[in-house]
């Protein structure tokens, strides 16, 4: 009994010291990480709709659409949607710009844990080209067959492609339903 208590106390002490140390590191790094993410989000929003500023975010209760930012450009209102897609490494966050009809104007993959060299290619600026200007007259591609053979960056990364394409498709449908 005495031996069991001794072992438990020793392991508890190790865990306590580790927790204290991690708390200190988190205290120092958490504000830096939060600030960096806010800057990244701001840069991504202004890069997606150049020359216009995104409005305040509006929360949405939907499985795929998390929130949206209305953007006024000339006489038109565009919508930047924050979407969640299911990737190979878990949930992926995308920012996608749609017009009021649901046509995709621009998109960018944000937080993700996709495989380096394979699914991570979805972060490349040219990856989203295959989806742009689609959603109204031409449907958003949701299978590899719909994009043809000109885009080889989806090779070996079917789950990432499906996650991205399904999220963009659902975003377009959400706009068409007039859910905002």
């Amino acid at each position: 009994m005495h031996s069991l208590v001794d072992k438990t106390l020793r392991l508890t002490l190790i865990c306590g010291v580790a927790a204290f140390l991690l708390g200190l590191v988190n205290y120092k790094t958490e504000p830096v990480i939060r600030e960096r993410k806010a800057i990244e989000l701001k840069e991504a929003l202004s890069a997606l709709v150049s020359g216009a500023e995104a409005g305040a975010p509006v929360d949405v209760e939907d499985e795929v659409v998390n929130l949206y930012y209305p953007v006024s450009v000339a006489d038109e209102t565009l919508y930047i949607l924050s979407l969640t897609g299911k990737g190979y490494g878990g949930d992926m966050t995308l920012l996608a710009v749609y017009d009021s009809q649901g046509e995709l104007i621009n998109a960018k993959l944000m937080d993700n844990d996709e495989t380096i060299g394979i699914g991570k290619k979805a972060e490349d600026s040219t990856y989203m080209d295959k989806f742009l200007n689609r959603g109204v007259e031409r449907p958003l591609p949701t299978t590899k067959a719909m994009i043809g053979s000109e885009f080889d960056d989806v090779t070996g990364a079917t789950i990432t492609f499906s996650g991205v394409s399904q999220a963009l498709y659902q975003g377009s449908e959400w706009i068409k339903e007039g859910s905002f």
């Binding site: 580790a18 790094t29 380096i116």
Partner: protein, 224 residues
């Protein structure tokens, strides 16, 4: 000296002990990832070896594995948070593989087989040797894979890098070019290969091929 050198050559973790193959295959698409992963693993290995060597009499045998995992996971979390805060690009590139250092066989293996049985000085030498050996192996694999698979060598970008006489050394990075300053974008393009890379080397199958051939070369050189 023997403890330090053995991890680099005779007991190289990747090519001889065949440990840590998961990150060795996954992150070696770019040289910069290999350097980052190697340095992260070296830091965790060094810190965990030191702590486990110091605490070897304090940690009861029956709970030594959970205790080692707590120590290793703590150092891995420190590396992860530090990379996220101060080297976000590298953190994004390495993705989930930073957290996976916790279950890297090299770390737990050296804690169990070496640090728990030896003094602190030998444990430091062992960690440095194994860590450098692992880093070196990752860099070798990444060099072959990136040169053949992408026709590039990706390193850390450097701002404000000048000319050598009138010769422009590197392509300026975007940020440096915008400010009119010559810098290094971090990417060295290999003529011919960058236009027509052998894509299979960037894919998992290419990683296995490269590791296999490098292991054979390493074994041959160790025998001679």
């Amino acid at each position: 000296m023997k403890e330090l050198v053995k991890g680099i050559l005779k007991e190289n973790p990747v090519f001889v002990l065949v440990l840590g193959l998961c990150p060795a295959l996954a992150v070696t698409t770019q040289v910069v990832n290999a350097i980052g992963m190697g340095m992260g693993t070296l830091f965790v290995l060094l810190c965990s070896n030191i702590m486990i060597s110091l605490l070897k009499k304090f940690i009861p045998y029956e709970v030594h594995i959970p205790a080692y995992i707590v120590i290793i996971a703590s150092f891995v979390t420190i590396v992860d948070l530090t990379l996220q805060a101060y080297m976000p690009d590298l953190s994004r590139s390495l993705g989930v593989f930073v957290q996976l250092i916790v279950v890297n066989c090299i770390i737990l293996g050296r804690a169990e087989a070496f640090a728990s049985k030896h003094g602190i000085v030998d444990s430091i030498k062992d960690a440095l040797g194994m860590g450098l050996g692992f880093t070196m192996a990752l860099i070798f694999i990444a060099l072959v894979r990136e040169i053949l698979g992408s026709g590039t060598i990706t390193l850390f970008p450097i701002e404000n890098l000048g000319f050598l006489g009138n010769i422009k050394l590197f392509q300026p990075s975007d940020a440096a070019a915008a400010q009119g300053v010559v810098g290094f974008s971090g990417v060295i393009k290999i003529p011919l290969l960058s236009d027509a890379p052998i894509t299979v080397f960037s894919l998992p199958a290419g990683a296995l091929l490269v590791v296999g051939y490098l292991k054979a070369l390493f074994n041959k050189s160790n025998q001679s």
